[in-house]
Amino acid sequence: MSNTLLALIVLALGAIGYVIGRQRALKATDGDQRKLHSLPSYYGTNVLLKTMVPAFLLMLVWLLAQPIVVDRSVRAGLQDESVRQDRSVSLVMTDVRRVANGLGIAVEQGVMSRDEARSLDTQSTDVRARLGEAGVALGSDVTPAVLEAAQQYRGLSGTGDIARFALVVALALAGLGWGVRESTPSFRARNSVERGIKSLLILASCIAILTTIGIVLSLVFNTIEFFRIYPARDFFLSTTWSPSFGGGSELGILPLLWGTLYISLIALLVAVPIGLFAAVYLSEYASKRVRSVAKPAIEILAGIPTIVYGLFALLTIGPLLLRVFGDDTVGWMDGGTAVMTAGLAMGIMLIPFVSSLSDDVINAVPQAMRDGSYGLGATQSETIKQVILPAALPGIVGAILLAASRAIGETMIVVLGAGAAARLSLNPFEAMTTVTAKIVSQLTGDADFSSAEALVAFALGMTLFVVTLGLNVLALYIVRKYREQYE
């Protein structure tokens, strides 16, 4: 509640700052904005940013830190006496927080007065029952120590809340003052604002790095643990994948990697040509009406849950392929689940990834390029193939990379469509499986979570991460080399 209020106050101060900053700058030049370095709105925005950004940052940090600090000090008080023999401090703290919260709710609902909440003791009151009246359920009766700690908790939090409120508002005001003082005609407000925005942009791109670090960190420890109990050599070089419970599993990643690449390849062989042709048709040939219907329609394919594709692969594509390539005809295929089955279903799913994005970039190629080609007597398809697609190449590569990534990361279709067999084979009509599918199954299975069979999921994840990283570096390198010719 008070946080919402605080946020609103800061927002209001920001708005006020905007107006003042703008006015002050304008006033200094008697309303002639031409004499200002920047547009008046930049002066306003400058003040607004200076008012709001530090204040919100402080508020955020404080909100994160206060519970920790309060926790720490209440905890210190509990340490000696009251930690029940069989309870860790953290659980007692859970109780303390629950009671403290309960008191808060009770006060809010008028079940208890503020003083009462402060002076309550376990002898004279059944705290559990009183809190029950306010709809706060407690797991057990409240001990005096816990109640006391809860009251202390409430006190500290209350003080913290007030201090936060005051400091945040003060900081906002300070920022406002600073910004307003700066708002002189010669102040480079635009540069200042743009610097601020640029920092925000940089911050946004850092999130990608943070995510990467997070992923690596969340995988790496268990991966190390895995390699401690399972030889890395076997993991990377063995061509057999056969986990079992009794120990003695063989956990070679090669067949899984092979399956991943094979299935992704087939999916891309389906999705890229179909997607590109669809994109080309939509952007170059189709009438506006057809385009406005077909494009979003195809995009639905990306939104159909993958389990549907999995079932579609299993129940429709598999039997169909079996009829064509099965024992009755050429005998390449033994069962309905195969690399081909999953690859086809996945390919369908990936069509919109390629088509929609490529359509947008193709559409963005300037008309002058087309005119130039038509003017030479090129047919539309020649123009597309030789002028437009090369011009749109960077974007198309991006789209294909996205589709490839999605193919590598897909699980459900593989589980249902490809069969679960980990094998190294060239025949696309055989069952295989992928790294991702095995990550999911090893992670969510029945194996002992500290065993190699479960930990291998992390090693698989880590390896896949490194492998795709390598592939991406390669892709970047190729694109760069290719692109340099053009720009």
């Binding site: 359920a137 797991g139 986990p243 309905g336 589980v415 090893q442 299975g445 194996a447 479960a454």
Partner: protein, 328 residues
Amino acid sequence: QSRENVQIAGSSTVLPYATIVAEAFGENTDFPTPVVESGGSSTGLSRFCEGVGEGTIDVANASRAIRDGEVETCASNGVEEIIEVRIGYDGIVFASQQSGPEFTAFEPSDWYQALAANLPQDGEMASNPNSNWSDVNGDLPDVEISAFIPGTRHGTREVFEENVLLAGCEETGAYDAMVNDMGMSEDDAEAACMEVRTDGASVDIDGDYTETLARLESNPDGVGVFGLAFYENNTDTLKVATMSGVQPSTETIASGEYPVSRPLFFYIKKAHIGVIPGLKEYAQFFMADEIAGPDGPLSNYGLVSLPEGELDEVQQRIENETTMDSQS
């Protein structure tokens, strides 16, 4: 903020029963409906063992007993007191399409001979020559072997390997042949008994029983391994085969006649009792006679409930909050 609800995670085999209980618990008590996550026994236990406190789960469902290594990890993370609750048994049945070939009776030996990677032949291990069920046993239909068995991530697989494959291996004398004639160590022989062929006759299913069912749907000659509850819910599309002459049912499993079954569990963090409202009540509710007893909704759904005495003992254990180490 403090957590209001009981938080449960773990086995997908226990999940159905847990949902029945959770729904009833929410409807019949003043506590909020517990949250039951699926994700597998292993995930559930690993989260269970992350530590104590509100941010961790209170109960882990498991379709197998917790392992020593896991207990150690738990302990090292401060989860020292665990209450083990055995809720009943899960029967494992062999079923095929209602309209498919006549699979009506199996012996463990049939399965062993059909699925083993290698069979002893003239004092040597040779790769399994059987391609049709009738090659294995003349009474079985003459259709290609196509079995859908639980993948290695499933606890069911372990039961299948031990109670069916290994049993069949011993029944046919293959085990003895390996140990005595070929001079294999007992461990090696056991491993050889349980090694499943990879030429496509047997398909590992990593997903749920619905996936096995879907596989059968696209392959009418297939035979699949299911949980009893699943089969009972799908008698319109599946027909079940006897194993060693015994028809699977809650009664034959409870009595121990039917050979393939496994116990199901959930584990409670004792430290959370009294901290998380409703935790103990949930466990009590779960194992109450009206729920987990032979006439309760769980049994009605397909859980093989605990025999009378055992149920009492479990109820007692919950009541007294008896932890695992204190019972042993």
